[in-house]
């Protein structure tokens, strides 16, 4: 009789293989008439966490049968990893923020509830904030609006004896005027400006104008010059139009020809516009309206005397909007309850603290036209007097839609465009060369492949 040891190893293998085979979809929660449990996904710093919890708590107070679990996903870049993992295990939240570059691809994969009819009711939202699939479905609308402005340090302008940047669209500078002012504010270690003899471009102490190198500024300025990235109907690439190429080249020339901007790179001025202005390393910073929170705090705590100016224009006045959308997942077991919460969260009156802090702009048109409403969110010390014309009016009249809102292949194309353009920002190649020879051949098949 042969004694064989029990094949423990074999048992272990079988058990573990069974464990990793896909488990049946876990139920999300029963939908009955009774208590409802929703998961709301978001991200943000402590400020946004507090404000989010506040409005969720007040919703729960008004709707006692609803329990909302707020899931903080950390940051927008960590978001996609986590939500992908949740999708793989069929445990997506009910609604919440979504990482903008992937909204359209997920929407076209049927992950989100079609909100077109939902947004037909109620006060109209800004059109530039709607994420629309090619077949016309709205899958999300930005919970907040953000445009770009020129932030500046008044002290720097006073010391140079120069007038402040205009805060009204009718008085906006054209590009050449903007560059001229920037030159007067750029000083090297010896106090010389770019037009003075003996100027040392490798030793600049303070820069006149900081225009960042990501897609929001250059697409905005390209639109201002009569070009853009993709046409509004989503059918034509505009990147290789001469107007777009010219706009991109002009931005690069700020650094390499006029020497008024800091060295290009993905992490220029790591501590942000507020510190750069306060330390007078930069006189004017073209950046988003979300900065009002940090710049406002820098004024209150460290005395930064800041001002807001409208963007300069190349051929026509233009700005652009961004904002994280709130989507509702089709896999939710409580879609109608989620839609009610969506209504609540998307209403500016329920997120007033975030609007008043300067971090957000409202997503509804009437909050830019009705004086009483405007007063509600801008009538506080954080918002300077010129905010009304430089931001509220400018956003209403001149903001354009950016490609991530309507071009599903945008993020794939951007993977090629952004690295290639870095050669242009560094002055190693011209915009025309890079766009025509390196970028267009690679992105055209991707764009058409949609």
């Amino acid at each position: 009789m042969v004694q064989r040891p029990i094949p423990v190893l074999a048992c272990a293998l079988v058990v573990s293989l069974a464990a990793v085979l896909p488990v049946g979809a876990a139920g999300q929660g029963e939908s009955s008439g009774g208590p409802v449990s929703l998961q709301y996904a978001f991200w943000g710093d402590q400020n946004e966490i507090n404000a989010t919890n506040a409005y969720l708590n007040s919703y729960m107070a008004k709707n006692p049968n609803v329990k909302i679990e707020a899931l903080n996903f950390g940051s927008n870049t960590q978001f996609n990893t986590k939500v992908t993992t949740l999708a793989a295990s069929n445990s997506l939240p009910d609604l919440g923020y979504f990482y903008e570059p992937n909204v359209l691809t997920w929407g076209m994969n049927g992950q989100f509830v079609d909100l077109t009819d939902f947004y037909k009711n109620g006060p109209p939202k800004l059109d530039a904030l709607k994420f629309v699939t090619p077949d016309g479905k709205i899958v999300g609308v930005s919970v907040a609006n953000e445009i770009q402005v020129i932030w500046y340090n008044k002290k720097t302008f006073d010391q140079a004896g120069l007038p402040y940047p205009p805060a009204e669209a009718s008085k906006a500078w054209n590009w050449d005027q903007f560059v001229g002012v920037a030159k007067k504010l750029t000083r090297d270690a010896g106090g010389k400006g770019p037009d003075d003899a003996g100027f040392d471009p490798s030793n600049i102490r303070s820069f006149g104008a900081w225009v960042q190198n990501w897609w929001m500024p250059w697409i905005t300025l390209a639109i201002s010059n009569g070009g853009g990235f993709v046409s509004d109907d989503g059918k034509t690439l505009l990147l290789d139009r001469p107007e777009t190429i010219e706009a991109i080249q002009k931005i690069a020339d700020l650094v390499n020809v006029h020497h008024v901007g800091p060295a290009p790179g993905t992490q220029q001025m790591p501590t942000g516009a507020a510190t750069a202005l306060l330390s007078q390393q930069v006189a004017m910073a073209m950046d988003g309206t979300w900065d009002l929170l940090t710049i406002g705090l820098t004024k209150e705590q460290q005395g930064l005397d800041f001002g807001i100016g409208v963007l300069p224009y190349m051929k026509k006045l233009a700005d652009a909007s961004v904002g994280t959308p709130i989507v509702v997942y089709k896999s939710s077991k409580h879609v109608s309850e989620a839609l009610k919460l969506l209504q609540y969260v998307m209403s500016p009156e329920n997120s007033l603290p975030l609007l008043q802090s300067g971090l957000w702009l409202p997503n509804e048109k009437r909050w830019y036209t009705d004086s009483a409403l405007i007063q509600q969110w801008t009538g506080n010390p954080r918002h300077p007097p010129e905010y009304r014309t430089a931001v509220v009016d400018f956003a209403l009249n001149y903001s354009h839609r950016l490609p991530e809102y309507y071009v599903p292949t945008y993020s794939k194309m951007d993977d090629i465009v952004e690295p290639a353009l870095q050669q242009v920002w560094l002055g190693q190649k011209t915009a025309e060369d890079v766009i025509k020879n390196e970028i267009m051949p690679k992105i055209t098949p991707i764009f058409k492949g949609m």
């Binding site: 004694q3 040891p5 060295a263 790591p270």
Partner: protein, 303 residues
């Protein structure tokens, strides 16, 4: 003499107990290492974006990587550059510092702590600091360069300078462990052999080349292998500091894998990338082990 049956039954029971004690580790290995490996291999043969069912593609992902992928080639180049430069730099620096720290001087313990400290600074925190040090306009390093009359460098902002900059940062942070290991090896070098060289009239170089270097060769080999493997895994710096730029100059392999899989939802593609990495590192390991027979001397072994 005991009966053959009893003898075998006792043996079987001993084996069973052995397996039971080892089962947590075996289970862990199977569940969390082998099963996912098999899973990722299967995924690499599909087109899967997590949201819809996977679509079988056979070897197409692998073929695409070598023919139509726009980032694979550049990523390999950039990663290989970093791996070679980082391993070499860390090795030379660590060995030099370990030799110095092995000298009998006052405050030896303090010096050893100082050189080890960077290894325990969290990398995400140090990334923020290094970003400022490397800042082309206002950072400390460019001020130093200007101060000694040299030209500014773009550091992390230049496509050709980004990898050397990251190597500097990595040597600062990673050398600590390697130094400690070298130090331990150096202290195992027998004094009589070193004294013999002295008696024969040799200087510090003869001591190093004839005695120290062969005696520490197993540890040298270990540090090279570990250094190479660790260098291949560089990710945080790309993710936090450079986003793979400028112009894909720091598009390291693991970062590319992460981006394809978790930001672009292209799981099959990312899985194929991971298996190619596995094959490359395995091949490298095999080559290294064969090469090591030429020059690594294990104490007590023949030759």
């Amino acid at each position: 003499m005991e009966s053959p049956v009893l003898h075998r039954r006792a043996h079987g029971r001993e084996a069973l107990i052995g397996y039971l004690f080892a089962s947590p580790v075996i289970l862990g290995l199977v569940i969390w290492v082998m099963a996912p490996m098999v899973g990722s291999l299967l995924i690499s043969f599909t087109d899967w974006n997590v949201l819809t069912a996977p679509r079988w593609l056979g070897l197409r992902n692998y073929v695409n990587l070598f023919t139509s992928d726009l980032f694979f080639g550049k990523s390999l180049l950039v990663t290989a550059y970093y791996v070679v430069l980082n391993t070499a730099a860390t090795f030379v620096y660590s060995l030099a510092v370990a030799l110095l720290l092995n000298q009998k001087v006052k405050g030896q313990g303090v010096f050893r702590s100082i050189f080890y400290l960077p290894a325990i600074v969290p990398i995400v925190a140090s990334s923020a600091l290094w970003l400022w040090l490397f800042n082309p306009d206002f950072g400390l390093y460019n001020q130093i360069l200007l101060g000694v009359g040299l030209k500014k460098s773009l550091w992390l902002a230049g496509p050709s300078t980004v990898v050397p900059s990251l190597v500097i940062m990595s040597v600062w942070g990673g050398a600590g462990n390697t130094i400690v290991i070298f130090l331990a090896a150096l202290q195992g070098v027998p004094r009589p052999l070193l004294e013999a060289v002295e008696i024969d009239g040799g200087n510090w170089w003869h001591k190093f080349w004839a005695v120290t270097w062969p005696m520490i060769s197993p540890v040298t080999f270990f540090n090279i292998v570990v250094g190479l493997i660790n260098s291949f895994q560089i990710f945080v710096q790309s993710y936090v500091m450079t986003s793979g730029g400028p112009n894909n100059g720091s598009l390291f392999y693991v970062y590319l894998m992460y981006r394809e899989g978790f930001e672009r939802n292209n799981m099959g593609h990312a899985a194929a990338l991971s298996w190619i990495l596995f094959l490359m590192v395995s091949a490298l390991g095999l080559i290294l082990f064969r090469w090591s027979r030429e020059w690594v001397h294990y104490e007590g072994a023949a030759g």
